[in-house]
């Protein structure tokens, strides 16, 4: 059974290839069966595999073939399965299958049904290769594969140029991180001589000691890739724009799986990061700053998907924070629960959008509680989990992160509580913006009538995800053997109490402001300072403008300068000189043969004079 692990990425891949080569000539039911079924089958294989694996949980390596051979460098096409991989595989195939099933209904009216599933299946295959890869090069193949699929899916409705621009932005911004990562791979290979993850980590441990420059540099470069892929500061600007793709795509790629690849990468190479504690602290700080920035921004959005996008950025910030403070399993745990509830939220949002004539603006919704009950309950449960209300899955995963942050003893003493405070502030904001969403969309007056109800293929996955979001946190992940042991948490009751009460406080605030409307935000936002602050937050701390001014405009300026071809001017000058000389010399070309002959004779005389001198 263990040997059949290669089936897991192969099934979606074959399905994708089949869908691509038939180029939309297959009947839709067949496409749906193939697209969703292949991922479902993969999920079944993962399940069976996982059951067998857990009986003897030893890391399992399967080498398929030698990929290429360049001198001593001979990377294998091989898979490495341990508990971490298993969790990732389960999330990818399980959540992926649910989203595929959901998509069969969501995308029903789209003319490019087959192309959609081809891309989606290809994405699942690439993502599986990413997490199952035995060496960093194969990981990088999957890494770029998911990037390409993300590009294709964000720009799925390519007829609108704005979508094309969004996909291009997503591709280019992540490319910045990928370049750093490729450099990191090269550095690791030149220094350690292998890219196979486990031997490489062993070699790193043997070669370097904690605090060396080289591991810090390598970790930094890998972090660059992770930051790009996981939409963390400063490379987070692409994710909100990536919402231009179909909503299930946002759910699968930009919430549940791909954007967490950075977290997976850091977790997978934690041995390297442990050698660079400063970089680890940087990871934590990046996570913290990102989660706060994104949370503030999410407060101000009115596009339902953009709220969720900023929320995603914020939650991945939590994961980074967890990784940074050494709470590895908690980070991965949060990755999994986040996959559940964020997929649930996106799919719920998709149901709302689907049933409301593709309406995105939350202020044009309202009162949908009774009209779209499925969506309402999904949202309610998803938001509860997101806000980490007690006994939801989000609570079980977020709480240990905060406690780990509080107890953090890193390279800067006493920074732990500050991280904790920041995390708590983020949690408060999370509760506020998530319930703001719930109250505005589902309560109050109805602004738009839904024209249909979600069918079973949408409702079914939603229900399943609701269950997972509620109870997914009750399982302990078997990650103990993968990561170094974490010190047992002994939080004081006070800390626990604060952690539990903060989200509730946030819900209360949201209830007061957006449901009871006891406190008016408009008074604050109408004042000049408030308004500008609102605008500022709404634009995501004006990061896009910043990058525009900092990078794009100088680049365009240089391009404009170069369009005048200053280098060519030099050559044109040479040409001009040549032409001048040419005109002068062509005057000597009289066309009279006798003169040519005579000048030749002059030359001959000179030649013989010189040559004959010595004789």
């Amino acid at each position: 059974m263990l040997q059949t692990v290669w089936l897991i990425p192969l099934l979606p891949f074959l399905s994708a290839v089949l869908l691509m080569v038939t180029a939309g000539r297959m009947p839709r039911p067949l496409v749906a069966m193939l697209g969703a079924g292949s991922v479902g089958l993969s999920a079944v294989v993962v399940l069976l595999f996982g059951m067998q694996f857990m009986q003897a949980p030893e890391p399992y390596t399967l080498t398929l073939w030698s990929w290429m051979r360049v001198g001593d460098f001979a990377p294998q096409f091989s898979f490495y399965i341990d508990q971490l991989t298993l969790v990732m595989m389960a999330v990818i195939t399980g959540v992926g299958f649910l989203i595929h099933l959901y998509s069969t209904e969501f995308m029903e009216e789209d003319s490019d049904y087959s192309r959609y599933f081809a891309y989606m299946n290809m994405f699942v295959a690439a993502m599986l290769i990413l997490v199952m890869a035995d060496n960093l090069l194969l990981l990088f193949l999957g890494w770029e594969g998911v990037g390409v699929c993300s590009y294709l899916l964000v720009g799925f409705w390519y007829k609108d140029p704005a979508n094309g621009a969004a996909s291009r932005k997503a591709f280019v911004v992540t490319r910045v991180g990928d370049t750093a990562m490729a450099l990191g791979l090269l550095l690791l290979f030149t220094e350690l001589g292998t890219l196979q993850i486990q031997p490489m980590l062993d070699a790193a441990n043997n070669t370097w000691v904690s605090g060396d420059t080289l591991p810090a540099l390598a970790a930094l470069l890998l972090l660059g890739g992770a930051v790009g892929k996981s939409a963390q500061l400063p490379l987070h600007t692409w994710l909100p724009d990536a919402m231009a793709g179909p909503t299930p795509v946002s759910a699968l790629i930009h919430a549940a799986t791909m954007v967490t690849a950075g977290v997976y990468l850091i977790a997978r190479t934690h041995g390297l990061f442990l050698l660079a504690p400063d970089v680890l602290l940087l990871v934590a700080l990046i996570g913290l700053v990102t989660l706060l920035l994104a949370a503030f921004t999410a407060l101000n959005q009115h596009d339902i998907k953009r709220i969720l996008a900023y929320s995603t950025i914020s939650q991945i910030g939590y994961m980074f924070l967890a990784l940074g403070v050494g709470a590895w399993s908690s980070g991965i745990f949060h990755l999994m629960t986040h996959a559940f509830f964020k997929a649930l939220l996106f799919l719920g949002a998709g149901a709302v959008i689907h049933c409301l004539h593709h309406e995105h603006n939350i202020f044009k919704m309202g009162g949908l509680r009774s009209r779209l009950p499925v969506a309402f309950w999904s949202f309610l449960i998803g938001s509860a989990a997101l806000a980490a209300l007690p006994f939801t899955s989000g609570f079980f995963s977020k709480d240990p992160i905060l406690i780990s942050a509080f107890e953090y003893h890193g390279s800067i003493a006493g920074i732990g509580p500050w991280l904790w405070v920041g995390g708590l502030l983020g949690a408060l904001l999370t509760a506020i913006y998530s319930f703001r969403l719930v109250f505005i969309v589902f309560f109050g007056e109805a602004n738009t009538e839904p024209d249909r109800q979600p069918g079973w293929r949408m409702a079914g996955p939603l229900t399943l995800l609701c269950v997972l979001s509620l109870f997914g946190g009750w399982f302990a992940l078997p990650l103990a053997s993968v990561f170094p042991a974490e010190s047992a948490h002994h939080p004081s009751m006070l800390i626990e109490g604060i952690s539990i009460s903060i989200p509730l406080l946030g819900v209360l605030v949201a209830w007061l402001v957006y449901y009871q409307r006891k406190v008016s935000v408009s008074r604050f936002t109408d004042s000049p300072t408030g308004n500008s602050l609102r605008q500022y937050w709404h634009s995501g701390w004006a990061m896009d403008d910043l990058y525009d001014n900092l990078l794009v405009k100088p680049f365009v300026g240089v391009s404009t300068l170069l369009r005048g071809e200053p280098v060519d001017k030099v050559y044109n000058g040479i040409v001009g000189v040549c032409q001048l000389v040419h005109r002068g010399l062509s005057e000597s070309q009289t066309g009279k043969m006798r003169w040519y002959a005579t000048s030749m004779v002059f030359g001959l005389i000179a030649l013989i004079t010189f040559l004959g001198w010595g004789i």
Partner: protein, 183 residues
């Protein structure tokens, strides 16, 4: 006796050449040139290169010069062309080239006079030449044959009588003729 013959034929060749290049009538010039070539053939014979002498007569005097006569006959320049040539022949025209040539000659003689006093006179038969031609020089023979073929094709093409009215053919030439029509 033979040495005297050499000097005589050298003088003949020289004077015939000078006359050939200073005549105004092309036909007369050619006769002088042929005489010059025959004199050079005699020199070849005296030097001990009878084969070269025969070739000089057969090919140079017998074939190449015939082509000249041929062309002169085809052009049929007539009296006025001759008159024009005569007018061009005043000292101002030839004094400069003659001076230049004289300088060159003096230089060459100075160079030659410093050479070792080698003597000619070895007889080289046609057989030796042939063996040399088709031995070490066989590539040169092939190249020469290519050159002659190129000359044949080139002469055929260039000498063809283009019809000037042909539209695809030399509209530029027609305009050129208009320009030059004055003379």
């Amino acid at each position: 006796m033979e040495l005297v013959l050499f000097y005589i034929s050298s003088a003949v060749a020289l004077f015939a050449t000078v006359f050939a290049l200073t005549r105004s009538n092309a036909a007369h010039a050619l006769i002088y040139l042929i005489v010059s070539l025959l004199a050079v053939a005699v020199i070849f014979f005296l030097l001990g290169a009878p084969f070269a002498a025969a070739l000089e007569i057969v090919i140079y005097a017998g074939a190449i010069m015939v082509l000249f006569v041929f062309v002169i006959m085809m052009l049929n320049l007539g009296e006025e062309g001759e008159e024009r040539e005569r007018q061009r022949m005043h000292p101002a025209v030839w004094i400069g080239p003659a001076l230049l040539s004289a300088i060159l000659l003096v230089e060459m003689i100075i160079v030659l006079s410093k050479m070792s006093d080698q003597q000619t006179g070895a007889l080289i038969t046609a057989k030796q030449v042939g063996i040399s031609l088709f031995g070490p020089y066989v590539l040169a023979v092939e190249i020469a044959s290519m050159l002659l073929l190129a000359g044949l094709v080139g002469a055929y093409h260039v000498g063809r009588r283009f019809r000037l009215s042909e539209p695809d053919d030399q509209s530029a030439v027609v305009s050129g003729d208009d320009k030059q029509g004055g003379d």
